[in-house]
């Protein structure tokens, strides 16, 4: 039990735990202190000074986010001195900010705009500084647009890139009036170690970092009568989209989302969960094959641990940071790209469509997926496999533009052929989900029995711990897998690239002996992706995860290999996992990159 101390906030006495910051103490007692540089995911910076409060008896004001309460503190959060100073600070930030709000992508969802509105800053007294600076907009990346004229130097992006991701693509350079947030030698985001994870976008309070949006391109495609526009939706979108459209965090809106997509005019609405199940079939088989090559054939070239390859942010990270470990990656494409390759082959054939006329759109919780779709190797269908990637946020914009009253929509089911999924596909959206889904299928494949966890729930790999571990012992395998008798399959799960770094270092140093590791670039996995609704914070991630697992539990089928459409595609098209056809369409390769 923490020691309690007594303080007073705006004249009201309260008892709080020792070491609570003034900001938290105020929030606990129902007093809201505005913030900008503060974010629950990040360390305290105390830079923006918006959260200043007055402590009686002190001449200077104090940053509430950075100051712990002390016994007997008499705190005022809205004194005249605080108000005047706070207004000044907002005015200063606005003077440094390109406040062309009506033409800003973040219009309506900007923390600075909200503050300015609350404090009714109606005049422009200070000199506008933007015209004196030589700002250019960096839009070379297929995922991220960086506009320094809108940057307020809160450094949330810098802390995100360092603390959550350990990438340090964005840092602070220079000092004084020249101080800015930039990349190494001010190169374009596309030319540095940036993984396109989009966490910086998700943490940016203004429009300085936004996704490159493809909304108009998709509207054009829908309007084009010669095109057949199909859409896939990633697992995590269904537990995030509602937040943008009037629901609270953690509400599942799968059926409404499908209904909305139909109303937007997509010709077919299908599910990335289907290819998540397919990924399990391919990746699970790949894992078992690798084990066989190592244990039976004693092949020295086979690499362990095998690492998952679903997260394009993670892929780009390992290409930059651990280029000598690319052989450890599963060769499976991500579910998005498997879907793309199949859309213009399997689906086109089944529906008797000319693949040339198909426009393939995906809705992702992710900005790195935009980069992934743009990779030159992602043309295995003979066309660009995925034409446009939209984030959860972009889809919400389209739904609003179309005038759809989202809350009143009735649930609609996905279209057939690539729209059926299992609970295993759904949990791809949460950290640990790929691992859990893979174990459910691989274990059964090897032993003919259910994975030995209560109700298929492999709880050790669930939750928000940065690195999680699980061991599954194989007993009484089927005859063809007899060599696995007694083998303890050691697995690990890492989410957030700073945790990926920890695991990779333990592999490099030789101290870990995992066989299979799931890596996700974003904290919490895809449900905390860079393309998800803003804000995303620990509490919201937890609620989205609960929704994902509830969705899984509610599914009649919860193992990928049970998915009837998966059974069908192997029967009709792919033959078997790792067949020649699947190698051609569903697998890929990776390339080393610089560490700039």
């Amino acid at each position: 039990m923490a020691k309690k101390i007594k303080i007073s906030i705006n004249g009201v006495s309260v008892e709080i735990d020792q070491d609570t910051t003034i900001l938290d103490a105020a929030r606990q007692t129902g007093v809201i202190i505005p913030t900008l540089c503060y974010h629950k995911d990040l360390c305290v910076a105390g830079n923006c000074r918006v959260c200043i409060v007055e402590i009686m008896g002190q001449k200077r004001l104090t940053a509430a986010c950075a100051t712990p309460c002390e016994e007997g503190m008499d705190i005022l959060t809205n004194s005249l001195k605080v108000r005047n100073s706070r207004k000044h600070i907002i005015e200063l930030l606005l003077s440094e900010h390109n406040a062309d709000c009506t033409r800003c992508y973040k219009n309506g969802n900007c923390e600075l705009q909200k503050l300015a509105s609350e404090y009714k800053i109606m005049t422009q007294d200070f000199i506008r500084l933007v015209p004196f600076k030589n700002y250019t907009i960096d839009q070379f990346s297929p995922s991220i647009i960086k506009d320094d004229s809108k940057c307020i130097r809160c450094q949330r992006c810098v802390r995100t890139c360092a603390e959550l991701q350990g990438v340090n693509a964005l840092t602070v350079a220079h000092k004084g009036d020249q101080m800015k947030i930039t990349t190494f030698f001010e190169k374009a985001m596309n030319d540095v170690v940036c993984t396109n994870c989009g966490q910086c976008i998700n943490h940016c309070p203004t429009g300085a970092l936004v996704e490159k949006n493809y909304i108009e391109e998709v509207w054009d495609a829908i309007a084009d009568k010669t095109k057949h526009v199909i859409v896939q939706t990633a697992p995590a979108v269904r537990v995030g989209l509602g937040e943008e459209l009037g629901f609270g965090p953690g509400v599942r809106v799968t059926g409404k989302m499908v209904a909305a997509l139909k109303r937007l005019g997509f010709d077919a609405v299908m599910d990335t969960d289907f290819t998540a199940d397919l990924t399990i079939m391919e990746e699970g088989t790949e894992l078992l094959t690798r084990l066989k090559r190592k244990m039976v054939d004693h092949d020295p070239d086979v690499k362990f641990p095998m690492a998952t390859s679903c997260s394009p942010g993670w892929i780009k990270y390992i290409e930059h940071m651990y280029p000598d470990y690319l052989d450890h990656l599963s060769t499976c494409k991500s579910p998005q790209q498997m879907f793309g390759a199949l859309a213009k082959t399997y689906y086109a054939k089944a529906r008797n469509l000319d693949p040339e006329t198909i426009v393939s759109v995906s809705i992702m919780p992710c900005t790195a997926k935009k980069f992934e779709a743009n990779r030159p190797e992602m043309h295995d269908s003979g066309y660009r496999d995925v034409d446009y990637v939209l984030t959860t946020r972009e889809l919400a914009i389209m739904i609003k533009q179309a005038g759809i009253d989202f809350m009143r929509l009735d649930d609609v089911h996905y279209d057939r052929l690539m729209g059926e999924s299992t609970g295993a596909g759904v949990i791809f959206g949460a950290t640990g989900g790929v691992m859990e889904a893979a174990l459910r299928t691989a274990y059964e494949l090897v032993t003919g029995r259910d994975v030995p966890f209560d109700n298929l729930n492999i709880t050790p790999v669930r939750g928000m711990e940065g690195v999680k571990e699980a061991t599954v012992k194989i007993e009484n395998p089927l005859k063809e897998w007899a060599f696995l008798e007694g083998v303890e399959l050691k697995c690990a799960v890492a989410h957030g690239l700073v945790n990926a770094h920890k695991v990779m270092e333990s592999i490099r140093s030789g101290e870990s002996n995992y066989q299979f590791i799931e890596f996700m670039a974003c904290p919490g996995g895809c449900l905390g992706g860079g393309g998800q609704p803003i804000p995303t914070n620990p509490e919201i991630r937890r609620k989205r995860a609960e929704a994902i697992y509830a969705e899984d539990e509610g599914m009649p089928l919860r193992k990928s290999h049970q998915n009837p459409e998966i059974i069908k595609i192997y029967k009709d098209f792919l033959d078997h996992p790792l067949s020649e056809k699947s190698h051609h369409l569903l697998h890929t390769h990776y390339s080393p990159r610089d560490r700039f």
């Binding site: 305290v44 910076a45 105390g46 830079n47 923006c48 000074r49 918006v50 200043i52 001449k59 200077r60 004001l61 940053a63 950075a66 100051t67 712990p68 001195k81 005047n84 100073s85 000044h88 600070i89 200063l92 930030l93 003077s95 440094e96 007294d125 200070f126 000199i127 500084l129 004196f132 307020i152 130097r153 450094q155 602070v172 220079h174 000092k175 004084g176 009036d177 020249q178 101080m179």
Partner: protein, 394 residues
Amino acid sequence: MTTNYLLKRVDFIFKNENDWEVILSKSINRAPQELINELISSELKGRGGAGFPTGLKWKLSAEAVNAIKYVICNADEGEPGTFKDREILSRVPFKVLTAMAVCGHVIGAKEGYIYLRGEYHFLRPELNKAIVEFEYYCKEIKFDFSIKIFMGSGAYICGEETALFESMEGKRGEPRNKPPFPSTSGYMGKPTVINNVETLAHTFTIFKYGAKRFYDLGVQYSRGSKLFSVSGDTPKPGIYELELGMSLEDFVEEFGDGDTKAVQVGGASGFLVPRKRFHETAIGFQGKLTGISLPTGGSMMLFNSSRSMFNVLDNYLEFFREESCGQCTPCRVGCQQLLKGIKAVKRGEKNAQYLDKLLRLTETMQYTAKCGLGQSVANSFSSIVENFREEMIY
């Protein structure tokens, strides 16, 4: 020196006394608490400008529980018009080294660092020689204390103690949030005493002659003597050790060129005092004497009637705009607004009332900036604008 002594000159710091070995041996054989009491009763306050009681600073670090502690000598003398620390380190380095070692004894630190301003790299060879000799003596008397020099790299803000720690840790010199304070969490997160060069030199005087000799100098709240760097329009620029509490009128009488219209006390982060207020201004830390008292790092810059106060302010603001670390809003943006603002008023693009808006802005900067730099921009700005408003406009 000739002429009448209006000011009480003192000669402690530069007095060449070849007895540091004696002072060191004697002091480290005294109990830490005794030395702390000596400092507390001398009422010595930090000579870097902020004026924190030195004895209390040592006491807090001595009380902090940690196996590793540090003593840091802040020689990042960057305040425009200040050059006293350079003189101390080149003329009486052993006094500073001795004081650092005694501090190490008091708080329980075995390592000391001198953070030397980058521009003073020419001091380094001689200072290094002194350190070698000093450490050799420490070994002889079996006193475990080492001193290293850390070179600054050209950033004024690193004179701020927490920015200095960051810089020593290999990072950008950005001030930290306080608390925690250096006495419990300083360099490398360890309890640290960080003192200005001159402060350390004064402790040597106190340990040698006792607290009373020091306390007897100066006036209430401002005890002892202090070095002043005198520059600008003066026939006798240089460094002078003077008793605290002197009136600015006497000072100008002695150092002015007969046409002094204003004195900037304490450098860019200090105050400008116009002629009409010389008589009511005393130089010390706090408390009223005949008029206002001013804290000072020791820079005294005199301006005669040929100087434009607009140019002076312009120069200060240019300095702050560049030397602000840039992390906190009031300082980063505020400095740019002040500089652009006075220029706009001068050019007639903003009316004279805009100066009042800027004055209110400096008040906000004083209340809200993260560190002393941003907080003190208000000092020179308001004292210049309020006293020389016409020069700002026309």
